[in-house]
Structures are given as structure tokens and as C-alpha cells.
């Protein structure tokens, strides 16, 4: 049995995971899994049958999960990752940086900020055109624009870094 810290939204769930058994916040559940085609997994939990599909994102701890009709984003950290993150957070102190990545491939229509500009959480950064609609990407936090890695009227790939914001 291994211990994991699971984060869903703002909720942190303490999990111990083993073969056909999972303990979530001290509650124990038994399950069986069956792999069917296309990497779909059938999961029997209690008396219900569910179907799930997972996409492991870039750094292998963010997982996108579809269960039946629902979609859930899960962050998984094992004991080692928890230690590592704690170390990084401590050493980074307040010098945190976040990179703003393209949520989808598209065309950069307008860059709404400039180098070194101070931005507020929720402020528009870039207008990205995809599927014929213009979508505004907003800043997730207050900060200073440290780096702009894109130009107007160029196409970007999904997950490509567009802008780096430095916490202030």
C-alpha cells in the first residue's frame, strides 16, 4: 500500500492505494479493474460499474480523468513528490514564476500586455483565436510580466509557453 496526496480543485484527499483496495480519508473501498480496448478501464466499485479513461499530462502528476459522463482533473503526489515540492517551494521563497501556456492550438490575435507591466489577477493577457472564436487568456495571479515568448499573428501549439509572470 502506498500513500498519495490527491488534489481535486481545492480539495486535498489523503489516499492509500493498493491492489483492489483503496483508503480515502480513512474510508476503505474495494474495487476491481478491467482494461477494455482503447485504454478504457471498467471499474466495479460496490455494486456499480463505471467506465474511466485517463490522460496523464506533461509532468505525469496531473491527470485528466473521464468517469462515465464526468470530467475531473486530479493532481497526484506520492511521498517523494510531496517532499520535493516542499523543498522547491521553500527555496523558491517568493521568487515564484508561473508560465502561461496555450490551452489549445491557435493564432495569437493580440498581446494585451507589455514587458515588465504589472498585472492583476484576472487581467487579460493574450487573445488567442481558435475555432473561429477569440478567447482571452487571463492572468491567474498578480505579478510582473517577465517574459513574452510570442508575437502577434503567429500560431502556437497546445501547452506552448506564451508568457512568464513573476510573482511580486
Amino acid at each position: 500500500m502506498e500513500h498519495y496526496k490527491i488534489t481535486i480543485g481545492e480539495k486535498i484527499i489523503d489516499t492509500i492505494f493498493g491492489l483492489q483496495k483503496i483508503i480515502i480519508d480513512d474510508k476503505e473501498f474495494h474495487f476491481t479493474t478491467t482494461e477494455i480496448e482503447n485504454e478504457l478501464i471498467d471499474i466495479h466499485l460496490g455494486n456499480s460499474l463505471h467506465q474511466a479513461y485517463c490522460l496523464i499530462k506533461n509532468n505525469s502528476i496531473d491527470v485528466e480523468v473521464w468517469v462515465d459522463n464526468q470530467f475531473i482533473r486530479i493532481k497526484i503526489e506520492d511521498d517523494r513528490a510531496i517532499l520535493l515540492n516542499r523543498f522547491q517551494t521553500n527555496s523558491a521563497n517568493t521568487q515564484g514564476e508561473i508560465s502561461i501556456n496555450a490551452p489549445m492550438p491557435g493564432l495569437v490575435k493580440k498581446i494585451e500586455i507589455s514587458q515588465d507591466e504589472i498585472v492583476k489577477q484576472g487581467q487579460g493577457l493574450v487573445i488567442l483565436e481558435a475555432m473561429k472564436m477569440e478567447n482571452e487568456i487571463k492572468s491567474p495571479q498578480d505579478g510582473r510580466i517577465k517574459e513574452i515568448r510570442i508575437e502577434n499573428n503567429t500560431t502556437v501549439e497546445k501547452d506552448q509557453t506564451l508568457i512568464i509572470i513573476e510573482a511580486i
Binding site: 478501464i41 473521464w66 492550438p105 473561429k132
Partner: protein, 501 residues
């Protein structure tokens, strides 16, 4: 009118509407030619057509909007006609003209009628002339900020900037105050240009929280015009329709008669032929205004078909052949109630951002009173290049409540894994008290929706999600070595995912 035969049709479109058109053609014994961009080479419409030709790269400008290439393929493959579907070249009069000049039948109105009624500004002028009420605003396009400011002051804020060259909410902006006008005008023009290759926009008074109700029309070349009743399209987000129903709960028989009469006379006076939709908005006093005409088949046409039992694509082809409508208004019987939900590849949990990717698992609901029109299948890739509409789920019932319940169950049973989508959002809407009672307007989503309204996953679903994620992670051997436990307790052992391999 000379009768012309149609034995082979090129469909200059993709996705669900191309599939829909191929279906009617096949029933009529007409051969079909699909065109596709290289990214669509495995698309469903390509599989279903009798023949298919690649016409360019993924951006629409280089493929589905490439007029010369499309006409060239229609000629070389021996097509008598082109069906444009909706979007792309469907409302482009110069394309319609070019098609006819090449002795190919354009399945739709004449280029002249399309120009008159499809152009929002000239249609407004025309409607005004024959006495159909229009929303206050300009009847000419606006190209500079000074004129825009003057007109906006005249009709008073809020105003709406709209694309003259097309619909679907593209290029549309609500402007609440003078300060926002210039930026709105810029955004609107650029969006209109990229969507319709036409950056002209105009301004009209924004009627707050109207109802959006439209009338389906069919007209042949002999002056016969019939209507197929109305469709209520007030459930919209960012001016894009999400749910439509027919009939509307908002109007009574008297208003319905006035509304359909206004639509019929507009079409008759304009000398318009083939299928078309006259859109109206209703203010809160149930007074209606002509909004625009869509000179093509519409996305939501199936709800009309479900009620009247006519195949609109077949009728379009018969009219294009030069045949008379073989029925009159009194032959059209309206039955029951129909609802359509548009399934979009967009994420309601994340500001409705478009989502792209591969469909891993697809289970389409079916049964009495359920229809699903789609251009996707399992393993289809949804790309960022085209409209995010991936499927249209339609329900029909003897009563509105029966249709609504059928839709509710069908949405629950709809399974679309691998691509974020708005199915839960549609389910939320049709189970809202104000939707159930039919008391809604175009402000419905802004007024009632927030992401917190959506069903939160239950504890059971979360548990399953965690099990799935950890199983997958361990299977991928991400350095997460497990401690051994008793492994021999399952009959499913052979197929079971083993955490230790």
C-alpha cells in the same frame, strides 16, 4: 423554369451537415462527392460519400473556402450540383454565381436573392420597405468610429455591433457605453473578416433579453411559398444557439399567424427560392422585429423535420431541379414537440474554452423520439480549425414534457470520453425550473448559470476517478513501486490490470 436533372452532388462542407446531406442524397439515389482538407482525411463525411477529394490544407481559407478548387472538382467529377450546407460558402453570393456560371446547379437561392436577403443591411432596408418591422439602427455598414459613435448616440446605448456578411454570433459584440465602442468595433470587424471573409459590420439597438424566434420557409421557382412553423432559439451563449425547440412556448396562435405571414411575405416579395429562415426577435411586450434572414439550411432544421415529417434537404434538391412544391400550406400538419441540444467540444468548467483531441469512447443515445446528427465517430480527432459543434441531439415527444424528459435521459446516457464537452451543461439547462416552465429569454444563461451550478462529481465518482488515475499511473511504471498484496482473489485475473507488471 427549365427542369434540370441532378444525379451527382458535391457537398462543399464537412462535419455533421455534410453527413446529413449525404444521407438524403443516398435516399434519392443521387451520388455524392465529398471534399476535405488534409486534416479531415479520415472524417465521417469522407467515408460516407460515393467519392472524395482532398482540396487543401486545414485552414478553411485554403480548403473549404477555396471556391475555384471546389468548382473544378465538381466539374471534373461530373457533378450536376453543389450543396453548400451551412457556414463556409453557403451564404456567399459570388460563389453561388460562379457555380451557376460553370453550369452547375447551386442548391440554394439565386445569387441575387441571396445578396438581397443574406446581406444583413440590405435585408433590413428591404423589410422596412415592405412594412415588416425592423430593429432600430443602421441599414448601411459602418466603417469608421465617428459614424459608429454618432449612430450609437442616436439610438442610445446599449447597442449591438453585428457582421453584415454572416450569422452564428461571429463578429457580434454588445456595447454598453461609448468608451467600449472602438475596441468592440475592431474586434467585431476582425472576427467577421476571419469568419466570413467580409469585415463589414453594422449597428443596431440592443434589445435587452429578447426572445429569438425564427420561421422556416420553403419557396419554389413558381412563386409558391410555404412555412414550416417557428423555432424558438433563445437559449444562447455568446450569441451562439445551444438549445432550440419547436413550437415556441412564448407565442399564441394569433401571434404565430402574424409572424409566419410576415416571413412568407418577405420571402415572396424578395423572389427568394429554396430553403431559408427568417429570424425575428421579440421584445418583452411580445412585439416582433425582423432580425435577419439565413439564406441556407440551418443547423437546427431537424426540430422542424421532426414535427412536420418533411425532409428539408430533399425538398431543397427538388426545388433546385426546378420542380414545383408538391404540397401546399394546408397539407403541412404540425405534430408534437421537438428539442435540439447542440453538443459542442468546449469545456463548461473552464469558461467554455474550445477543447480539441481524440474521441476515445462514444455512445450515442437512441430509442423512440431520439435523433442524433453528427460528423464524428470513435477515434475521430477534433481539431482547432473548425466550428466546435460536434453533434446535435434531437428529441421528439407528443408533448413538450415528453420531449424534454426524453432529452434529459438521452443526455444522461450520452457518453463522449476523451473530449471535454457541454453535455452536462445542456442537461443542467433543460432541467432548470425556468426552462421547464418555458419562461426564458436570451439572457437565461447569463442570469442563471455559473460553474457552481453544474453537477459536482459525487463521492463515488471521485473515488472511481482516483482509482483510475492511480491504476494508470502505476501501469505506466512511473517509479511508483507497490508493496505486494494477495493477488489471487479475482476471477478476472487474466484481464485485470496488474499493478506489478
Amino acid at each position: 423554369m427549365i427542369k434540370r436533372s441532378i444525379n451527382k452532388i458535391l457537398i462543399s462542407n464537412r462535419g455533421e451537415i455534410a453527413v446529413r446531406i449525404i444521407k438524403s442524397c443516398s435516399e434519392m439515389g443521387i451520388k455524392t462527392v465529398a471534399v476535405y482538407s488534409d486534416i479531415d482525411k479520415h472524417a465521417v463525411h469522407v467515408r460516407l460519400a460515393s467519392e472524395s477529394y482532398c482540396i487543401g490544407s486545414a485552414p478553411a481559407r485554403e480548403s473549404y473556402l477555396n471556391q475555384d478548387k471546389i468548382i473544378e472538382i465538381a466539374k471534373s467529377s461530373g457533378c450536376d450540383a453543389i450543396h453548400p450546407g451551412y457556414g463556409f460558402l453557403s451564404e456567399n453570393p459570388s460563389f453561388a454565381k460562379k457555380v451557376e456560371e460553370n453550369n452547375i446547379i447551386f442548391i440554394g437561392p439565386s445569387a441575387e436573392a441571396m445578396k438581397l436577403m443574406g446581406d444583413k443591411t440590405s435585408a433590413r432596408t428591404f423589410a422596412k420597405k415592405i412594412g415588416v418591422p425592423i430593429v432600430p439602427g443602421t441599414t448601411d455598414p459602418i466603417d469608421n468610429i465617428t459614424d459608429a459613435q454618432r449612430i450609437a448616440e442616436e439610438i442610445s446605448y446599449p447597442v449591438l455591433i453585428k457582421a453584415a456578411g454572416g450569422g452564428g454570433g461571429k463578429g457580434m459584440r454588445i456595447i454598453n457605453k461609448a468608451n467600449d465602442l472602438e475596441a468592440g468595433l475592431r474586434a467585431s470587424k476582425s472576427e467577421a473578416l476571419s469568419a466570413f471573409s467580409d469585415g463589414r459590420v453594422y449597428i443596431e439597438k440592443y434589445i435587452e433579453n429578447p426572445r429569438h424566434i425564427e420561421v422556416q420557409i420553403l419557396a419554389d421557382a413558381y412563386g409558391n411559398v410555404v412555412h414550416f412553423g417557428e423555432r424558438e432559439c433563445s437559449i444562447q451563449r455568446r450569441h451562439q444557439k445551444i438549445i432550440e425547440e419547436s413550437p415556441s412556448t412564448y407565442i399564441d396562435e394569433k401571434i404565430r399567424a402574424d409572424l409566419t405571414q410576415a416571413a412568407v411575405s418577405l420571402v415572396k416579395e424578395a423572389g427568394y427560392t429554396n430553403a431559408g429562415t427568417v429570424e425575428f426577435i421579440f421584445d418583452q411586450n411580445k412585439k416582433f422585429y425582423f432580425l435577419e434572414m439565413n439564406t441556407r439550411l440551418q443547423v437546427e432544421h431537424p426540430i422542424t423535420e421532426m414535427r412536420v415529417g418533411y425532409d428539408l434537404v430533399k425538398e431543397q434538391i427538388e426545388i433546385a431541379k426546378g420542380n414545383r412544391l408538391d404540397f401546399s400550406q394546408k397539407d403541412i400538419k404540425f405534430e408534437g414537440h421537438a428539442i435540439e441540444c447542440r453538443i459542442y467540444a468546449e469545456d463548461p468548467y473552464n469558461s467554455f474554452f474550445p477543447s480539441t483531441g481524440k474521441i476515445i469512447n462514444l455512445r450515442i443515445p437512441s430509442g423512440l423520439g431520439i435523433r442524433d446528427d453528427r460528423g464524428i465517430e470513435e477515434k475521430s480527432e477534433v481539431s482547432p480549425y473548425y466550428d466546435p459543434l460536434i453533434s446535435k441531439l434531437i428529441s421528439f415527444g407528443k408533448t413538450r414534457e415528453e420531449a424534454r424528459n426524453r432529452m434529459s435521459v438521452a443526455l444522461k446516457q450520452y457518453r463522449l470520453i476523451g473530449l471535454k464537452n457541454n453535455i452536462n451543461f445542456c442537461a443542467w439547462i433543460i432541467n432548470q425550473p425556468k426552462f421547464i416552465s418555458g419562461e426564458y429569454d436570451t439572457g437565461f444563461i447569463d442570469k442563471y448559470f455559473s460553474v457552481n451550478e453544474l453537477d459536482k462529481p459525487s463521492e463515488e465518482i471521485i473515488t472511481v476517478a482516483i482509482i483510475a488515475a492511480l491504476t494508470k499511473l502505476q501501469k505506466n511504471n512511473h517509479n511508483l513501486v507497490e508493496v505486494s498484496e494477495n493477488k489471487s482473489c479475482s476471477n478476472w485475473k487474466n484481464k485485470k490490470i496488474d499493478s506489478f507488471n
